[in-house]
Structure formats: structure tokens, C-alpha cells
């Protein structure tokens, strides 16, 4: 059976195509204002890579914040269910899944079958998610990709009273004026994300193993800080941003 998962996120649209539970192809494209169009493009890329046509796909499940915009999806699931299922496939031992995307972060407690037991999300604040890193990278005149490596060069913890992205930017500006290095500021930003995320995940209870997924899991600076706060290194898959789409594709097949 061939199924597909489409994860329509705030920053990117991800598609995973599965055949009998194994990945045939995947793709990621930047999400434009027209999510449907972005999803079509992502699906087209994945179909080309898989060398199949749309008609070969039996079921398509959409997830992500823009899932309701995908008219051609046969089903929808929430990001929570998709994250749990995808993480369970990659790391069956994981009982806690941390998913940090561009717009939202989530903590999910799962059982051995990948069923959601409890979950928590960030509330009305981007100060613990990917768009925060992006915004702060601009403030210190670097790129998102460089934030992690920069952060790992620092051995200093500068506290940030992060209550929201706007205030955080003011704090970063103050740190620049205080002649703090880019490396130290990058680490402070990741520290802020890690404390916020850990606090949120504690609401559902932290149980090992812990899987870290979502685009922010590509950032080694966040992983380093989260490892400190969680007291254990999270399991991070290759292509962590595709796990939601993978979960959706698995749910489509189930």
C-alpha cells in the first residue's frame, strides 16, 4: 500500500511517501502564502523522486497548522498524533517526544504503540520555537544555520528573561551593547529555548527515552542546552523535520 503524509507547517511543507511502511521518497519546500500550492510543489517533488504518479497513492493524510487547506488530502490528523506516530516508528523506546517547529513546540507522552497519553504545547508565545531562533539570528547578524555552531563555542551562560520574542530582541540588543560575543548570545538564546521547552514538557512528565524532532532539532546548540536541562541526551533522527509527515503517512496506512 502506498500512502503519503503532508505536514503543512508555518515555515515549510514536508511530504513523505511510504510503500508498505517504508519510505519511498520525501521532500521539503518553503511554505508560501498559498499553502495549497506549496503542498502541490512538495508532493510533485516527492512523486518525482519516488518515480510514481499521484494515482498510485491510496491515501494521503495531512497534518500541521495548515492541514485544513489541503483539499486533496483524504484525511487529517493533528500534529500531536503525527509526531507521536512518527517518533514511535523511528525510536520505539521513546516515551517522551519533544517537537519544536517554527511556530509551535510540543511535548507528548506516548506509550509503546505510539498512542498519545498526554501532551502540552507552548501558549501564544514564539519565545521557545524556531521562529525565535530565526528572529534572533537576524539580530546578531548571522544565519539560522550558524546559530548552533556559534553557540557550541561558548562556555558561558547569560540569563535572558525571555517573555516574548519582541522583548527578547530588546534583550539581545542590550547584550550586543554590553559587548557580549555572538557565541555567548547564541548560547543564551538556546538556553532560553531549552528552559522554556523543558518547563513545558514537565507538564506531561519527562520519561526516558526522549525523542527530539522538528526543524529546531537540526540545531546542535539547542540539543546541547536541552541535554543539560533534561539530564539526558535526546534521540534525534536524521531529517527531524520530516517526522510529522512520516507519522501522517503511517497513520494513513493504519
Amino acid at each position: 500500500m502506498i500512502t503519503a503524509g503532508v505536514d503543512v507547517g508555518a515555515e515549510t511543507v514536508k511530504v513523505v511517501i511510504l510503500k508498505d511502511g517504508e519510505v519511498l521518497a520525501s521532500s521539503i519546500v518553503k511554505a508560501g502564502l498559498d499553502r495549497q500550492k506549496s503542498a502541490e510543489e512538495a508532493m510533485g517533488n516527492a512523486l518525482n523522486a519516488a518515480k510514481i504518479s499521484k494515482s498510485n497513492i491510496q491515501k494521503i493524510t495531512a497534518t500541521g497548522i495548515g492541514r485544513k487547506e489541503i483539499s486533496w488530502a483524504t484525511d487529517m490528523v493533528t500534529e500531536i498524533a503525527a509526531a507521536a506516530k512518527g517518533a514511535n516508528k523511528l525510536f520505539p523506546s521513546a516515551r517522551t517526544v519533544i517537537d519544536i517547529g517554527a511556530e509551535e513546540s510540543r511535548g507528548v507522552k506516548v506509550n509503546a504503540d505510539g498512542k498519545v497519553i498526554d501532551f502540552a504545547k507552548n501558549e501564544k508565545c514564539a519565545a521557545g520555537v524556531g521562529s525565535f531562533v530565526e528572529s534572533m539570528s537576524r539580530a546578531i547578524e548571522t544565519t539560522v544555520e550558524q546559530m548552533g555552531p556559534l553557540s557550541l563555542k561558548s562556555d558561558k551562560i547569560i540569563p535572558m528573561n525571555v517573555t516574548c520574542v519582541v522583548f527578547a530582541e530588546s534583550e539581545v540588543v542590550s547584550l550586543i551593547h554590553a559587548k557580549q560575543t555572538k557565541e555567548d548570545i547564541a548560547r543564551a538564546i538556546h538556553e532560553a529555548i531549552a528552559t522554556r521547552t523543558t518547563s513545558m514538557v514537565r507538564r506531561v512528565g519527562i520519561e526516558k527515552d526522549i525523542a527530539l524532532i522538528g526543524g529546531v532539532a537540526n540545531n546542535p546548540g539547542v540539543i546541547e542546552r536541552l541535554t543539560q536541562h533534561l539530564g539526558t541526551a535526546p534521540l534525534v533522527p536524521k531529517d527531524p523535520q520530516l517526522v510529522g509527515a512520516l507519522g501522517a503517512a503511517l497513520l494513513a496506512a493504519s
Binding site: 491510496q58 486533496w72 490528523v77 500531536i80 501532551f119 504545547k121 501558549e123
Partner: protein, 457 residues
Amino acid sequence: MEWVATWVFLTHKWGPSVPKTTKARYPTKPLEGWKHCKELRLQHYKAFITARDEGKAIFTGSGDGSQILVHALHDSLFLSGEPYGASIGGDPAASDAFSEACEARGFARDLDSYMRNYLGSMYLDRYYFGGPFPRPDFVFSFHVCDTHFKWYQIVAEHFNVPTFGIDIPVSGRLSDRRESRQEYLASQIYDGIEWLEKTTHRRFDDERFIQVLHNLTETESLWGQICIQNQAIPAPLDQRALFTLYFPGFMLFYQPETPAFYRELLDEVKQRVKDGIAAWPYERARILHDSQPPWHWMKVFRIMEQYGGVSVGSQYAFCGGCSFDVDDQGVWHAPKTIKERGIVLQSREDAVRFLAEWEVGRLMFSVFCGNADDKNRQFLQMVKQWHCDGVMFHLNRGCEGVAQLQLENRLAMIEAGIPVGSFEGNMADHREFDEAQTIDRIESFMESLGLTKLELA
């Protein structure tokens, strides 16, 4: 069968056109008492517009208990701040205008949203149901929430009218120092009676007082019986109905129309149970709700229903209109009336003692105690008796009092193995509500209960 509704779902353009159907599990029909209830509510609020012409006194204050004593003096109209603020909260445009008028006078945006709606309406001199804001003759308020009496102090100062507050003691556990709390409340009730006589220049009529208490317990007993009926599967009433239907019992218990209405409603609900009539024909899971709802977005319950989740009750709707009797095993029963208790109230002293005992024992007040134990126990009991599959917490930023124990309650449910979901919002200020996030949280919770979205047109 006629009631088995079938909807056809169009599949995606690439797939085969296989129609998907969701069949109703239970029959349903509209509740006949609904319209009457809405009329009673509207009559109450419209009465303020003509009260002056009819020579009726108007007073204002918190909750419902405030009016028990005043109705022993004369026929009067009581503008209770919380339900009035909730009415405004259901209308985002009005709520914006009123709360912003209040905030423009320096009130913080994170204060009680009922209060901001009410005070804004007062400052703009615009009564939500028409005409100018009803000027009270005096303020007389029972209160369990400290900030609430400050609210009515502001009202009294604004209109330059006399004010009196009765503090219902809540702290620790409901069972703690019960007798001394009753004595403390009773002593204030005596002071309140004296103050009312001096302020209104009317004699406090003990016979009327006792009659009001009889009406109160009869109304609450009937409401309790209606709530108990909702233990049936399928639930004959949903949460939206309960939030509306409890209003007469909460606000209008003193008038004979209210127990008469509840008797009819109880008969209707019993018949629905007997006939298996469901509030939502697709009931697949039963959810207990916590806190006031976001009145501006009652769709919160519709989202659950799209998955077959039916909110069958809440402490707020159950206990806001009724002080349940709890037996030695912790089981909730509709409260007995004064007569059913075998009590004969013959004097003011008897009546004051009874009122103090009744008010101090209200299960609803557990939320204000600052100790989660009572509310946790109540929740576990409600989940059991109303056969709930999970609890949905509205983390309500609009009411500090009701919100104060919610996260502890949430943990207690999780420890007991009861699935919980939550969403953030505000009961009467839509500016603090994120629709997309709320839908996402509810849908995630429904999925975690193993429910899938119904295929509805």
C-alpha cells in the same frame, strides 16, 4: 430508521469516489424547555429597563446568595455582576467596547473579565439589554472572592450609594472549622439584616425570608435532579444546554416560576432518558468540562462533538445552581429540600442558621479554598458518576478564582489515569482567545482518546 442520519463525504480527486458515512448512534430532538429558559433569562434582564417606572428597587452585587436577604424586604431586582458580565462576554463587539472603556480608566487587562465588562457598561452608561445602565439603590453582596467585593465597592462609589458586603469564609478544606465558619457567616447575616432595614427603611419580613429559603432549596433540589439525569448514556443534555439551563436556578430561585419551570424540565429530561434521546446523536465519549466556558466561542463544545465527544457536565454548571448532598461514600445526590430534611424553620434564628450552613457547605466553593484536595475529590467523583472518559480544562485567564487550582486538578486527574486536555482562553474577553490554537488542542485531545473525526456534511 428516520433518525439515522447519513452524510456523504466526497473523497479526494485522485481516489475512488467511495462515499463515507457516519451513522447516528442515538435519536435526538430539540429540548422543549430551552426556549422557555431563554425567555425567563431575557425577562429578568429586560425588567431592569422598566423597573424605575414600576417602583421597583434595584440592587447589585456578586453571585446569587446576595438576594436571599433582600427579597425578604420587598420585591426588587438584583443585577448580579457575573452573569451580566458573561452576557456581555458572549458578544465580542460589546465586550470590546465595555472592557476597553474600563481599561481606559486604569483597570488592568488581566483583571476579571466579567468585572471589566460590567464596569465598562457602567462607565459608558449603556445597559447591554437596552437603555442606560440601571442605577442601583444600594449594593449588597455576598462574596467568596475578595476581588469581587472591591468590584462592588467601585460601583457604590460611582453611584454614591450605600454598600454592605458579607464574606463567605472559604479557606483550607470545605470541612475545616465548619462550625466556626458558619458562626462567622451567621453573625454577618444578622448585621446585614440590620443594615438592610436601616438602609431601605423597610421591615425585614421573617416569613418572606423563610419562604425564599424554601424556594431556594426546592429549586436547587430540582436542578440537582436534572444534573443527575445526565448520568444516563446517551446524555440527554449537553454542556451548552446545562450552562444555559442553570441560570434560572442561580438567579431566579426566589420566584415561583423557577421551580415550576424546573419541574417541567425534569419531567422532559426524564422522558428523554427513558426514550434514549441524546443531546448529540453521535455520542462516543463523555467529557467533563472545567471552568466557565469562553462565552464568545461556545463552539468549543461543537469541536468535541465533531469527534463524538460530548461534554456532559461541569462543576460550574452543576454546583453553580445546586449544593449537592454528598453521602458517606462520597456519592453525589440532589440536595434534599428543607421539608425533606425534616427541618421546620420557625424563626429568624432558625433561618439564619440554616442559610449559613447551606452557604458554607456549597461544593462550588472548593475552587476558592486554595487547596486542591476537595476539588480533586469532586472531579474524580463526577468522572465516576457521570461516566466520563476524560476531562477538558479551560485554563481561564478571565477568572483568577476559578483558575487557581486547575493545574493541580489536572495533575490529580493524570495520576488517577484519567485523560485530560486543556486550552487557554478567557471566559468573557475574546481578545485573549486563539481560535486556531484552541481547535488544534481540542482535536489533539479527541485523537488521544482514540476518536476520529465524524464524517459529517
